[in-house]
Subunit: 205 residues, 2 copies
DNA sequence: TTTTTTTATGAACAGAGTGTTTATATTTTA
DNA sequence: TAAAATATAAACACTCTGTTCATAAAAAAA
């Protein structure tokens, strides 16, 4: 297959400017309050230019967020294998909470902010998918007989995680990352373990 | 204080028409796709009339939903006291799932539908509040020392419930009400009980 | 019933935002 | 340097919003 020619400098620059402008404006006025003209003006570009690259505001948002979440994903993927499923303070859950803390304003608006393209749903779907793969492989590996299908357990897990994350952010992070993660695990581990037919000791995540 | 004069017949009729029209249209096009003109046209009213009663689309939505949720609240409140906190098949959780099943299309759109005024958040806040009152009174009554503040536990509970409710609806209700409620309880009861310092047997809800 | 008040209505208007087209200037790439 | 791709402004048609105003109709009050 033919390799795609490198993106025109101007295109890369324009896209970056639009993304940066959108993120700035979201923090200032919330997603719904931002118009395309706001974005192009802040980015110092003609309004027509916007339509050369994106269909609408939502497409730009998705594109903008990829950058943020790519960073998070990279962080998790670069962890040592034994940490990645471990329950220590550097595990993936901690990393998620830590990332949220570092981008608190943005997370707050995007996860809760009115409208905002139901972004929380997208994130939850992603977490659900990852959890389901993990739970399924755990069940297969340990040959247990789950009382509840892994897909439901994964959904429950993701929903609980998101919910607690939002609570933590909206209450101005009243606990340190380490502690909120501990609380989260305390609340959900047992139920999920027994749902999947695992002993609590087998529940390494 | 003076009693408010009864609402003009026309006003009552107009409001009802607008509410009905909105609900119909939401089911057809989703909340975001509905314009005020759509609503007034369906309701067979002048567009100006809308502004005589509501500030904007959202205000009408809220008003419309009150009817739906009043029905649910009334159902729960009219239960015998011993059922209201009980874990039998007629408990409040079952009623919620049952109500969702009966209004599945509406729930699906409102809880998940893009934008839609972040209605899921409103509902979750309501559930959280109720749960918190209940958990707090439970802790006070049984004199336990919770490891996790009831407000956090309540948030976790509400988030988990909403999450599972949405899953159930989006997967076309693959289990009967009774079974999904059982699964929900299996997943979350243990964690919450120990978080509040209760034995599982003390966890009557 | 008659009078008075309230409500519904359509037309008209101003304004904000969207998305497209076109001709032109500028920058990159080849 | 030539060819191709991109950015731009202006103009335009369109949709939706929210308000005003004069008038007609309906309901409430007398």
């Amino acid at each position: 297959m033919k390799r795609q020619r490198r993106e025109d400098r101007r295109v890369a620059r324009t896209k970056r400017q639009l993304r940066d402008a959108l993120m700035e404006l979201i923090l200032e006025k919330g997603y719904d309050g931002v118009t395309i003209e706001d974005v192009t003006e802040r980015a110092d570009l003609g309004r027509t230019t916007f339509y050369l690259h994106y269909k609408d505001k939502e497409e730009l948002l998705i594109s903008s967020l990829e950058a943020v979440f790519d960073e998070l994903a990279a962080q998790i993927m670069s962890m040592p294998q034994e940490w990645r499923l471990g329950e220590n303070d550097h595990g993936p859950i901690s990393v998620v909470f830590q990332h949220a803390a570092e981008n608190a304003t943005l997370y707050r608006i995007l996860l809760r902010g009115q409208g905002s393209v139901a972004l929380a749903d997208r994130v939850r779907d992603y977490v659900t998918e990852r959890a389901q793969v993990f739970f399924s492989s755990l069940v297969a590996e340990l040959q247990t007989t789950p009382e509840i299908p892994p897909s439901l357990a994964a959904n429950y897990y993701a929903g609980s995680l998101m919910s607690m994350l939002i609570w933590w952010l909206e209450n101005d992070m009243p606990y340190p990352t380490q502690k909120i993660v501990h609380h989260f695990r305390a609340l959900c581990i047992g139920g999920i373990a027994s749902a999947l037919g695992l002993s609590a000791a087998q529940m390494k995540f």
